[in-house]
């Protein structure tokens, strides 16, 4: 009986936290599309957030994407050549690198760097009573703190993952020339043939959904902190585990959508 009870309570907990996230997401979404949300204060926060999440890491992001991307493309092309699958490299580039790999790596990077930071930041603000300070001054916490962060997540993921793709396709020119002896013209022709509008749209949409949830979930869990300092690590780890689960879920869902 206790086993059944455990299973039952676990499932109920899961469903509860899932509906809680969806409810919260809906609340944020409504605010995003409300013009009154965009006050001068909120815009300042939004600019700060984009600055911290995207602009500040841009040099490192570009360097890693160039180094890592070139390496990956080189290894991939060599493998394709050895297996005699040269004619499929366009599909591999567009279908795997651009639509799957770039968003995924970007999401991992942003989650590790900004997701965890935001989770902690919100939890610390809660513990410090800064949230109640904002409320005392009749400043809506959702409008002022949450919405800019979530919008920043969407913008950053979409822009950075596109940038990542562009860098990878750029290093593809170099390696297709070196490994396959391919001209730029032939390379772009192969890419164009394998490029599918629906795939690109799905990849962009996926980036949007990724950006929305990988910031929303840390924010939500950060809010669950109590007024004790010890609650910070608890909500941060819980938040990050949930973000990980969300990333996997979104990835699987996008693959299912792609199949049909």
């Amino acid at each position: 009986m206790s086993l059944l009870e455990n299973i039952g309570s676990a499932v109920i907990k899961l469903i509860k936290s899932f509906t809680d996230i969806i409810n919260f997401a809906w609340k944020i979404l409504i605010r995003i599309f409300n013009r009154n949300t965009y006050t001068s204060a909120m815009r300042t926060v939004l600019i700060d957030q984009i600055y911290f999440t995207s602009v500040q890491i841009l040099p490192i992001f570009l360097i890693t994407s160039i180094a890592f991307g070139s390496l990956l493309i080189g290894v991939l092309f060599l493998q394709l050549k050895q297996l005699g699958l040269t004619q499929y490299f366009g599909h591999v580039l567009m279908g795997l690198i651009v639509t799957e790999f770039s968003p995924f790596v970007t999401v991992l990077l942003i989650t590790l760097r900004s997701g965890s930071a935001i989770n902690t930041e919100i939890a610390v603000m809660k513990v410090n009573k800064e949230m109640s300070a904002l409320e005392a001054f009749r400043i809506d916490v959702i409008n002022y703190l949450m919405v800019p962060r979530v919008i920043n997540g969407v913008i950053s993921i979409v822009l950075l993952s596109t940038l990542f793709s562009v860098v990878l396709l750029g290093s593809g020119i170099l390696f297709s020339g070196l490994i396959f002896g391919m001209s730029i013209d032939a390379y772009s022709n192969v890419l164009l043939n394998s490029a599918n509008f629906s795939d690109i749209v799905i990849a962009l949409l996926k980036s949007v959904v990724f950006g929305f949830f990988i910031i929303l979930i840390p924010v939500r869990f950060g809010l669950q902190a109590s007024h004790e300092l010890t609650s910070i690590p608890i909500v941060v780890s819980r938040g990050m585990v949930n973000v990980f689960a969300a990333i996997l879920t979104i990835e699987v869902l996008s693959l299912i959508i792609k199949l049909f």
């Binding site: 006050t39 001068s40 300042t44 009573k129 005392a136 001054f137």
Partner: protein, 140 residues
């Protein structure tokens, strides 16, 4: 005090140890935030107002400091300035001696309040009864 806030929900502006400054933003941003949020005032317009208010208290040097870098007086005045940024502010100072524990004489606060007199409508100071003597003549 609670009743007072309830009666003036739009004007009440608290200065209290329980309403801290936002620690990951500068004093300047903390004070400007009120104008930016309540009146949707652009940053470029809100910041000069904050600077002029800080100047009145000779505190321009703390504009870019953050909460942990401030001493008790600076923190108190930053909170006070934030409060007076509320439109037609009814400033409520909750237990000022909790914010600035080593303050000997409350006149210090009154001097500051006088300097920024035109920025707020009214000011109420709430404190425990046994602190009465600290307020000297005013308490009578």
């Amino acid at each position: 005090m609670r009743n007072f806030i309830k009666n003036h929900p739009q004007q009440a502006a608290l200065v209290s140890i329980d309403v801290p400054l936002i620690s990951n933003q500068s004093v300047l941003m903390n004070i400007a935030l009120i104008k930016q949020y309540h009146e949707n005032m652009p940053t470029a317009k809100a910041e000069p107002i904050v600077f002029s208010a800080l100047r009145r208290l000779n505190l321009e040097n703390i504009a870019f400091k953050r909460n942990p870098d401030l001493n008790d007086e600076e923190r108190f005045f930053a909170m006070l300035l934030r409060a007076v940024m509320v439109r037609d502010a009814l400033v409520i100072i909750d237990r000022p001696l909790k914010i600035v524990p080593h303050m000997k004489n409350i006149d210090y606060i009154f001097q500051a309040l006088k300097n920024i007199e035109n920025l707020y409508l009214n000011c109420h100071i709430y404190d425990y009864d046994w602190m009465r003597e600290k307020y000297g003549e005013l308490s009578r």
